[in-house]
């Protein structure tokens, strides 16, 4: 499956970062011809995915890949190296980029959006920085590209250029830059000064030299500094960013940006603190309960939202905290569940966002209360929505089942019954706020007073969008039956395993 095997393995890392950049340049050059421009976009996305597949192949063959760009500050470099967790995230992001590009073609044309070239360029830039985040070899590199991701997605969030978009963009930039400069950079500098290294090392970099209080403080700073993980009370940017066009919300705010956040948290927990040492840090439990509270509270907020995208946004906040909970449970199986949840939540949530976008393009409906009976008009879309819903809730036969399974198993292994309770309640809340949407769409009889739908009004989802929705909803089901390749990959991560070790 590795068509790039002729190339130097380490070169693949450079290519994954550079290929989207080249794509961005080509998109600018072909901006005047929409068909050509979108062909270029898709070709770039597919090339990138094959590159990541090549890296995956090398990872399974235990080939080490690393590269250094420049030495930035004394003893600190912009350097990249491949480890399984990064490969996992890169796979998700690059695969869904292809799908989102296909979807975006239908959406952006159907919606007659302005500045489409700028949109595709920023999209490619954002993916390039995500790839760099995936393969960062140290915290400084990760931080640099984390910030660049924020900046490159800002034009996407404010794409509409309206007052709402501007306000959303201000909150987005303010919270993300604010937390990362005030807390994350501070935590990184504190780590650098106290530990003398920022390299990601299996088992963590802290030794007995650092005081307990310091490490405890650093954990809190990391958890809140990584604002993209949307831990309460720094979650406001996510709903605010929903003013963006739906493909942006779908890829960036269900996959790339938010997952970059939780990915960073997982990476810091596994490679900076070390899962084994986590339980000895005094603030771990505090942050764990804050994450658990975020799970519940944001689910409650989601129930009150009538705007579909806003409800999905709060659902995302809640689901992200699942991953934070998994990371902080200090159990190898929970960490595996968290890593798996990156994948399963991505496919589930992107399906929901795609459907929301399709509904908006086809019937111009944004609010859930208006979607009664929509199942008759857009049956395929609403079936896909139902599949996504079930996957988020975590019911078989959907992908979401597995990640929830491992998270609960991890909570049991860590002897944290309260987390099991929280996960159960949250599942019920998911049912309450998500399931009524497809139920209303299919099962409510059409309102007598409403205008009967004429044929002229018959709604068609744009074909490219429909294809994209089909692929992601299929993936939701497929990952239930064939999760093995992904689980194999997760088992390669140091200190992470899906084997239940039980009480020892």
């Amino acid at each position: 499956m590795n068509i790039w095997s002729a190339l130097e393995p380490s070169l693949l890392i450079n290519l994954t970062i550079i290929v989207p950049l080249i794509g961005a340049v080509l998109v600018v050059l072909t901006g005047k011809y929409p068909n050509l421009r979108e062909t270029v976009s898709i070709a770039t996305a597919i090339t990138l995915f094959t590159l990541v597949l090549g890296i995956t192949d090398n990872t399974f063959n235990q080939i080490t890949m690393a590269t250094t760009w420049v030495s930035l500050l004394s003893g600190l470099e912009i350097a990249f190296s491949v480890e399984p967790l990064g490969v996992l995230f890169a796979l998700v992001a690059s695969f869904l980029w292809i799908i989102t590009t296909i979807y975006a073609i239908g959406y952006m044309r159907g919606h007659n959006e302005q500045n489409q070239t700028r949109f595709y360029v920023c999209f490619a830039l954002a993916i390039s920085t995500v790839m760099a985040i995936c393969f960062s070899a140290n915290l400084l590199t990760l931080f640099i590209f984390y910030e660049l991701l924020t900046l490159s997605t800002y034009p996407l969030v404010t794409h509409a250029g309206t007052d709402d978009a501007k306000r959303g963009g201000r909150v987005y930039l303010g919270i993300l830059l604010g937390t990362s400069i005030a807390f994350l950079l501070f935590a990184i500098l504190g780590t650098w000064v106290s530990a003398g290294t920022l390299d990601f090392t299996p088992g963590g970099i802290f030794t007995d030299v650092q005081s307990d209080g310091l490490i405890a403080l650093l954990l809190v700073l990391f958890c809140y500094g990584i604002g993209k993980a949307a831990l309460m009370p720094f979650h406001r940017w996510l709903p605010a960013a929903m003013v963006a066009p739906t493909p942006v919300s779908a890829l960036l705010h269900a996959v790339a940006v938010v997952k970059a956040g939780v990915f960073t948290i997982l990476k810091v927990v596994i490679y900076i603190f070390g899962i084994e040492n986590l339980s000895q840090i005094m603030t771990t439990d505090l942050m764990l309960y804050i994450a658990a509270a975020t799970v519940l509270l944001s689910s409650c907020v989601a129930m009150t939202k009538d705007n579909l995208k806003a409800r999905l946004a709060y659902s995302t906040v809640s689901q992200l905290s699942y991953i934070v909970v998994g990371a902080l449970l200090a159990s190898s199986i929970a960490a595996a569940g968290a890593a798996l949840h990156i994948v399963t939540h991505a496919v589930g949530k992107i399906t929901l966002f795609f459907c929301a976008g399709a509904i908006m393009v086809a019937s111009h409906k944004k609010n859930i209360s208006e979607m009664v009976g929509l199942g008759r008009k857009m049956p395929l879309t609403m079936v896909a929505f139902a599949i996504g819903t079930l996957s988020i809730i975590g019911l078989p036969p959907m992908a979401g089942t597995w990640s929830k399974w491992y998270l609960v198993a991890g909570a049991l292994e860590a002897d944290k019954l309260i987390i099991v309770v929280v996960l159960t309640i949250s599942t019920l809340l998911n049912i309450v706020y998500l399931l009524p949407i497809p139920i209303k769409a299919f099962l409510t009889p059409p309102d007598e007073n409403q205008q009967p739908w004429s044929r002229a009004e018959t709604i068609k989802t744009p074909l490219p969008s429909l294809i994209a929705i089909g692929i992601t909803s299929t993936a939701c089901v497929a990952l239930f039956f064939y999760p093995q390749p992904i689980i194999d990959l997760i088992n390669l991560i140091p200190d992470v395993s899906t084997e239940f070790r039980g009480q020892s």
Partner: protein
Amino acid sequence: MFEQHFPVLPIVLPLIAAPLCMLLGRSQLAWLLATIVSGISFCIAVSLLMVTLDQGVLSYALGGWEPPWGIEMRLDVANALILSVVTGISTLVLVYAKDSIATEIPQSQHTLFYTAHLLCLTGLSGILTTGDAFNLFVFLEISSLATYTLVSLASDRRALTAAFRYLVMGTIGATFILIGVGMMYMKTGTLNMLDLAARIGEFEYNRTLNTGLAFILVGVSIKLALFPLHMWLPPAYTHAPSAVSAFLASTATKVAVYVMIRFIFTIYGAEYVFYSMGMDVILLVLAIVAIFNCSFVATVQSNVKTMLAYSSVAQIGYMILGISLVTTAGLMAGLLHIFNHALMKGALFMAVGAVFMRTGSADIKAFRGLGKTMPWTMAAFTIAGLSIIGVPLTAGFVSKWYLVTAALEQQHWMIAFLVLIGSLLAIVYIGRILEAAYFKDPVQSASDKTIKEAPLMMLVPMWILAVANIYFGIDTSLSVTAADAAANWLFEPSAQAVFQSASQSASELGAAR
């Protein structure tokens, strides 16, 4: 043969060229001469920096009179670094000024502008190069008088009151410095800096010297606009011609910071100033207050030049903070920020100058919609703005990294945190401008005349600085090495007392790196 005179050339060349500009009489010719002279000075300064990095220190006896009796020109890495910045910025500003002053200064006074600019450059180079405390005061006055002229050249009549205010405060500062130098002379009988350092070291505790230090520090603080002595700066930078603001913001206050470093570390010695006199706490508190107060004031300004001026005062706070940490790392961070801040503020003021030229206003309203009409100018503004905020891969990030690291090494967690919080305010004041430029539609009244992109002669220097912001954010080897060598050099008292051993240790340091 000729090279031995290099240390004095950055002073002598502009000094000779200044009256020539006046005599040439034609604006074009004066511009050409001034730019060439400034460019040559820059090349000399860079070669001097290379030499000092290699050999440690260069001493030049003016007129062949041996120090400590004659005036000594003395270059080490610290002042060679800042000299390169000053002459470099001066050259870029002169290239930029040709089109910029055409709209802001009456035609008849153009030669006067170039003359005053060159005199100011003379003064600044002199302050940086001299090894004589009284001579330093003389050059300070030369540069200050030239600066008052430059500020008042603007056709806006408010510039006159701003210049007058600047004149009054600047004169008080200079007088204080003179009194302080006088007191040192009274006690030690010498004016050569090294000689002074050696003799002051002999005194255990002396009230005259302490008073002298107090006068000098207050005087210098006025000159470098340390909070709360900064009130002269915002009006002066606001109403001065754009080219003058760009030059002063990135050089004049930096040179004053250098004077403070020189008096504290070379003459009195860090131990005396910080441990016996406890100045570190005072400077530390004032620096923090400056960062917060002035950044906050900057967020509510409607005139962009005023906003940048307040931002400058806040950034000076970062430099003073570095000094007040009393470590090599802190001093190095301060010096590095002098270098990096010159790059950012130069580019920002140039961009605002270009906007002022095209729209006739520096108000934030004038920036509306400029993202479309003046894309290159606003792109340069964005890059420099991101650098002020301290986004990674820009020069500002490098300064901030070293400053916070220096604070953390001293276990000053709170200070490190405050520095980072302070930079959040920069997001607000830079963000306001960017939002206006990229998201707001132009004001109706301005739309009857179409706004064009700035002329090429203004864009090129602006972009050189913008690109330098990114370059020095990625390849830090030059700036960091020089700042590090300078800080080590200033911090080692023994290195300054005995010349021979000093040059050796410096070259060892260079070799080790």
